[in-house]
């Protein structure tokens, strides 16, 4: 059991690190595309037609990939009175319920996100002229990594909602 836990945490370390970098890159892409939009319109006087759509696409990926990192750090906000004032097994039970709720929601998002990704594949994304499935795919993909992050946080608990002071 312990070695299984350790193995899972090792897996999480790799995936969550990679996904965190990918989400950061998505944010950087959004910034670059947004700045390109301002520059091309104002300085070069030839407005880009794809930049706005790229910003939206990049940010969808940023949020869904960022979810893994957020869950791993326990950073999603909650009204955590019950958790803070409970101890021992009760505290652990609350954490378990929160984990199962989160996993259930992620399963829903994975399942129906996957179905949507398939169903909308013939729809084009205006501005980028690619299938909108490239946007919808962020939901099932993000849900998988988010589930790893959520489980890892249960096994190795952190609540940076409280500790992430700036």
């Amino acid at each position: 059991m312990r070695s299984l836990t350790a193995a899972f945490l090792r897996l999480d370390k790799v995936t969550t690190l990679a996904v965190g970098i990918a989400a950061s890159v998505a944010l950087a892409v959004a910034v670059a595309a947004g700045f390109w939009q301002v520059t091309t319109r104002f300085l070069l006087e030839s407005p880009a037609t794809w930049s706005e759509a790229l910003v939206r696409l990049a940010l969808i990926w940023m949020v869904l990939l960022g979810l893994a990192v957020t869950l791993r750090q326990g950073a999603l906000v909650s009204i955590d009175i019950a958790h803070r004032y409970s101890t021992g097994p009760a505290k652990r039970a609350i954490e378990a319920v929160a984990l199962f709720s989160t996993l259930f929601l992620l399963a829903v998002l994975f399942w129906f996100g996957w179905e949507m990704t398939n169903r909308v594949r013939f729809q084009e994304m205006a501005g980028l002229e690619i299938s909108i499935s490239w946007g919808y795919a962020a939901i099932p993909v993000g849900a998988v990594f988010a589930a790893i992050g959520a489980i890892a946080n249960f096994l190795d608990y952190r609540s940076e909602e409280l500790e992430a002071a700036v």
């Binding site: 319109r41 729809q123 002229e129």
Partner: protein, 301 residues
């Protein structure tokens, strides 16, 4: 209570889309003797509306064809500028078998194209700088829809087409982030663009069609008798839509003038057509020269 049928549109209740949806509701409920309970709802995001019809989370939607080209690419041919001379021409083509053939294409995407509606002819507006001839628009930043055909045509005329979300347009016009925009009269009027733009030019450069779509699964579940009811309601809905567009166009121009907008008649539409000519070659390649010719030269039989 009858079976619920939800239809959405993207505008105020008292608009060319709102009245069309209400007419649809009225006729379906009357003809079916309340077997169906039509619920009209406003949904600003037209892309979401069409997608929802496809998914079956709502039965029908009506609105501009703006986002529909991303679902059914064949209808983009209708976006070519200076394709239609006037309303009679545009409506004639859409109501003929040419239009029916295009509506047939919706089926492959899980939808039924019920009838063609309209947003009306689009006209150009600008802020500070007045445009006296097409050469004056060269170098101006004009907000367009995120529509490849529109953007290509404006680019040919030397404009810097600037696609932008409609919700961002008012502040962009206010601050001069873009120099102008183009939309049908009902939209200009409802958006109070007279406060943001000084000049309106009746360019009628492109006709903006609309469409009423319903979900294929919903449709296949109807009896032949009920299908007829929905078809009749759709026809009544188009009538309400078109007569409101006409009314808005007539009284709207006057109203915009009254509110202080400088309205410029454009007697020489050919000059604009000429300015966009280089794009036309591309459109002929893309859509077929013969197809465009048929549409342009269409006459009622």
């Amino acid at each position: 209570q009858g079976k619920q049928v939800t239809i959405t549109h993207s505008s105020a209740t008292n608009s060319h889309w709102g009245v069309a949806a209400l007419e649809f509701e009225k006729v379906v409920e009357a003809l079916s003797k309340n077997k169906y309970n039509v619920v009209v709802q406003r949904l600003d995001n037209e892309r979401e509306a069409v997608e929802s019809v496809q998914l079956g989370s709502q039965e029908c939607a009506l609105g501009s064809t703006g986002p529909v080209g991303n679902f059914v690419p064949d209808i983009r041919v209708l976006d070519v500028p200076f394709l239609f001379r006037d309303y009679a021409h545009a409506r004639g083509v859409l109501d003929s078998e040419v239009g029916d053939k295009l509506l047939e294409k919706f089926k492959a995407r899980g939808m039924i194209g019920m009838v063609w509606m309209e947003n009306g002819f689009r006209h150009l507006t600008t802020g500070k700088k007045e445009v006296q001839s097409p050469s004056d628009v060269r170098g101006m930043k004009i907000r367009t829809m995120e529509n490849q055909v529109h953007m290509e045509a404006w680019k040919a005329a030397g404009v810097l087409p600037t696609p932008m979300a409609f919700s961002e347009l008012p502040s962009a016009l206010q601050q001069g982030t873009v120099d102008g925009q183009e939309n049908p009269i009902p939209v200009i009027l409802a958006g109070n663009f007279d406060q943001l733009q000084k000049y309106l030019y009746l360019t009628s450069h492109v006709y903006s069609p609309g469409v009423l779509v319903c979900g294929l699964d919903f449709w296949n579940g109807l009896s032949a008798e009920d299908k007829k009811i929905f078809q009749d309601a759709a026809k009544a809905s188009v009538k309400a839509n078109r007569s409101r567009v006409e009314e808005d166009e007539r009284s709207g121009v006057q109203e915009l003038r009254r509110r202080g907008m400088e309205v410029r008649e454009v007697t020489n539409r050919e000059a604009y057509q000429e300015a966009m000519k280089t794009a036309v070659a591309n459109f002929e390649k893309q859509f077929g020269a013969d197809v465009l010719k048929t549409l342009r030269e269409w006459r009622p039989k």
